[in-house]
């Protein structure tokens, strides 16, 4: 996928693979993320140092991300160096070495990455809630993998996963920026055209449309603030109801940005939950997260509760707000406002070439490019009755997980 933008001499290249924690099997959680790390360790042609320098030397920046549905690698560079980027991506699609010594070094690096996250109560609570939100589906697993699995995964596991899923038929290459499409297409054909593809075979989980009724969990630990997290099922990104859900999210907890690279957010201080929880002093902050996924995922609300506050009192307030949104149709004005917010967020992201490259592959990874191209049009077509029906279908008390992290130690400041 190519997008010409000639405003600055910069290109952003994104290579997406249709593999993530969604396709991992029990006892092998974290494989996709670990493979992503190994892709920076070298091939016969490019050593790890070469990969490191290739982008950095010319002032570019590069990174990779693993999600439940996809793994992606990107490089944003001065456009004169696009060829080097494409050469690297074509080479490491098939020739990464997975040196056993590097595998062992990376094992401890990833465990360290996990331990860093575990320092935060929010991470521990979120991991527990996510696990309760799915019975079998791998969306229940943390992308980093469990520590137990990270200790047990072998070099062979990683290499097999890599060879099986890193191939042209499972990849989408997106380039945005200062390019000449015909010559770039020729270059891509030369570099990637000869890489063999075998028939795709990956574990495809059965979507879980509902949650177990009465899911509730409570964690305890050191800390000076309590946390409340609630997760409801949300539809897959391709589902028409997803757009109605986006309006609900905007109204309840504030709009989410599709921008990956800090191109602006909109505060949520007029959202219903902020007004009810924070303005009325039941919580110090609240935000929501609606993720676009291949399979039905979760919409989450997180609230931070003061040390002398009560998470259960905050939950009652949330219940009341949910009751209201499932009982009455929104006004068209409220829907228009959500659309205006989404339009503004798009405008903020559009001045950034890296975002333009990201959007193409991101939406193609769980739907198609039309998903992002028609995002605003589809939001505009959402009706108040569709919002009400979606809220009633999904935001049910018997279809959610409630998680509380209760801090066991306070300094008595409040």
């Amino acid at each position: 996928m190519l997008k010409e933008i000639h405003t600055v001499p910069v290109t952003s290249t994104w290579l997406w693979y249709g593999i993530g924690s969604r396709n991992e099997l029990p006892e092998k959680t974290g494989l996709s993320h670990w493979v992503e790390h190994m892709q920076f360790k070298g091939t016969h042609k490019f050593t790890g140092d070469d990969i490191d320098s290739l982008v950095a030397r010319v002032g570019g920046y590069a990174n990779a991300f693993t999600s439940p549905d996809w793994t992606t690698y990107f490089e944003t560079m001065p456009s004169a160096h696009l060829h080097a980027t494409l050469e690297l991506e074509a080479d490491r699609m098939i020739n990464s070495l997975f040196d056993p010594e590097d595998v062992e070094t990376e094992r401890t690096v990833i465990i360290s990455e996990r331990e860093g996250s575990e320092n935060y109560p929010e991470f521990r609570l979120d991991e527990a809630v996510q696990m309760h939100a799915f019975q079998q589906h791998p969306y229940r697993n943390e992308v980093l993998g469990s520590k137990e699995d990270l200790l047990g995964i072998t070099r062979d596991d990683l290499y097999k996963h890599y060879r099986k899923h890193y191939q042209p038929s499972n990849a989408i290459l997106c380039i945005a920026g200062d390019i000449s499409p015909n010559s770039v297409l020729e270059e891509v054909e030369n570099l990637f055209g000869g890489i063999p593809s075998s028939p795709l075979s990956k574990s495809i989980p059965t979507p879980e449309k509902s949650l177990n009724p009465g899911n509730q969990l409570e964690l305890e630990g050191p800390g000076e603030a309590h946390y409340l997290e609630i997760a409801w099922r949300c539809p897959a990104a391709r589902d028409p109801d997803f757009f109605a859900y986006t309006i609900i999210e905007s109204l309840l907890s504030g709009p989410s940005s599709l921008n990956m690279f800090g191109s602006g957010d909109i505060n949520n201080r007029t959202s219903r939950l902020y007004q009810a929880l924070v303005e009325e002093d039941f919580a110090a902050s609240v935000f929501g997260d609606l993720s676009a996924n291949i399979d039905p995922g979760v919409y989450k609300i997180f609230a931070t509760i003061r040390p002398d506050g009560d998470p259960w009192a905050a939950l009652k307030i949330i219940n009341e707000q949910i009751r209201q949104i499932t009982a009455h149709e929104l006004s068209q004005r409220e829907i228009d406002r959500a659309i205006k917010q989404a339009s503004a967020l798009f405008a903020y992201g559009s001045d950034n070439i890296t975002n333009q490259g990201f959007w193409m592959g991101y939406s193609s990874s769980f739907a198609d490019y039309q998903w992002v191209a028609e995002y605003l049009t589809r939001l505009r077509s959402v009706s108040p009755s569709q919002v009400l029906r979606t809220a009633q279908n999904y935001l049910r008390e018997d279809q959610r997980v409630v998680g509380i992290y209760r801090a066991t130690k306070t300094q008595g400041d409040l």
Partner: protein, 407 residues
């Protein structure tokens, strides 16, 4: 995006009679506008034992004005998909705004209103205080934050920078609303206010919009900026350890006082710092601690920039069992960095990186506005981006070694 480089020919810069300075640069292909800037006061204006007063006052500004209560104020901003925020640093209060170009005047006027006529409502005061106290409580359990605070205490000693801008639970708990009002009356004014704007608007149009609501603001009672006390660096190595229960990772900071930001040394150290802990996968220390030893996911070095004293630091997150091993590896790398010149290849790599990054930093409105602010804050001059390549090119391996040895 405008393909020309921001310089004295393309940046509009003017200072009004009231002491406010505006810098504007166009990006006419963008449908949005981003503005940022800074003004008095910063946390150094906190009176003795009233740590966090400046920050608390700033937090109150966005809770409503004399004309608009909290709900109406934020409804005006959020209903048009705009954002507006303020924050307090050591030396100044910073502000940020983003909106579609047709909404610029509306959003800017709201910022002027919250700065000039905040409501300081009692209910909001209590709520904001609770939010700040909760924020402090969360920080107290954050290993990275606690390491940073311990480091600042050790480095800055009796200097005001030793204290967190947000203050302490003990100080924030006892502030009275009237004290915040007085602080606002004393320090907020147009003198020293700097605005940088970039986006889909002609600079002359931005100038008209910004000056219409602010150009005539005169406030003779505004107190002059606080003078920064002298910084006396530690005379010996200091080690400090904060223990937190049930944490799986320790956060470590090692550092020294950094060179002044407006100095040749700073440019030299900046290039040296890239080699030490930034370039590619976090430079030499990334290679030693993460790539070879597998001890940490996060390890990097950072050269602080600012008007007052700053620090040159290395930070890492490691399993507590690997803490001493990591410190030993970092010391080894620091010894090498201060006893052997970096290689010509290393120097060449980071020079081309620094030069290549210039066009990338102009990729977004926010990136350009941030450069405009730095140009003004540090007095670099409007042709800074044009002059920077020559400065970078002139740095040598020997200069990095001798400069690193001094710091």
């Amino acid at each position: 995006m405008n393909t020309s480089m921001p310089d004295s020919k393309t940046i509009l810069r003017e200072t009004w009679k009231n002491g406010t300075t505006l810098l504007a640069y166009p990006n006419l292909t963008s449908p949005a506008v981003y503005f940022t800037g800074y003004m008095q006061p910063g946390a150094i204006a906190d009176p003795e034992e009233m740590f966090g007063l400046a920050s608390f006052t700033t937090d109150m500004l966005m809770t409503g004005t004399k004309q608009l209560n909290f709900q109406r104020l934020h409804d005006k901003i959020e209903s048009i998909g705009a954002s507006l925020s303020l924050g307090t640093g050591h030396l100044s209060t910073t502000f940020f705004g983003q909106c579609l170009r047709e909404d610029l005047e509306t959003v800017w006027n709201l910022l002027v209103e919250v700065i000039q006529e905040p409501a300081f409502a009692e209910k909001q005061f209590k709520r904001v205080r609770n939010q700040i106290l909760t924020g402090i409580a969360i920080q107290n359990q954050d290993t990275a934050e606690m390491a940073s605070q311990a480091f600042n205490r050790a480095l800055y000693g009796s200097h005001p920078y030793a204290h967190p801008d947000i203050g302490y639970a003990q100080s924030v708990s006892i502030f009275k609303l009237d004290r915040l009002k007085l602080f606002h009356e004393t320090h907020y004014g147009p003198d020293g206010l700097v605005i940088a704007v970039c986006g889909g608007i002609e600079p002359e149009m931005a100038q008209e919009i910004f000056s219409r609501s602010l150009g005539a603001w005169q406030y003779d009672a505004q107190s002059p900026p606080e003078e920064l006390p002298p910084f006396i660096p530690p005379t010996a190595s200091i080690r400090s350890h904060v223990a937190l229960e049930e944490k799986n990772q320790s956060d470590l900071i090692i550092g020294v006082p950094a060179p002044k930001t407006v100095s040749r040394d700073f440019h030299v150290c900046s290039i040296g710092n890239s080699i030490l802990g930034k370039y590619g996968m976090m430079g030499r220390i990334g290679k030693a601690v993460r790539e070879k030893a597998g001890l940490a996911y996060e390890v990097s070095s950072h050269l602080g920039a600012g008007i007052g004293p700053t620090a040159w630091t290395i930070s890492a997150g490691v399993n507590p069992e690997n803490l001493e091993k990591t410190i030993a590896l970092l010391r080894q790398e620091l010894l090498r960095f201060t006893t052997e010149p970096v290689t010509q290849q290393e120097l060449q790599d980071v020079k081309t990186q620094a030069l290549g990054r210039l066009p990338l930093s102009l990729e977004s409105n926010a990136g350009i506005a941030s450069i405009l602010v730095s140009i003004e804050r540090f007095g670099y001059g409007l042709d800074h981006l044009r002059q920077l390549p020559a400065i970078i090119e002139s740095i040598t391996t020997e200069e990095i070694l001798t400069t690193a040895q001094r710091y």
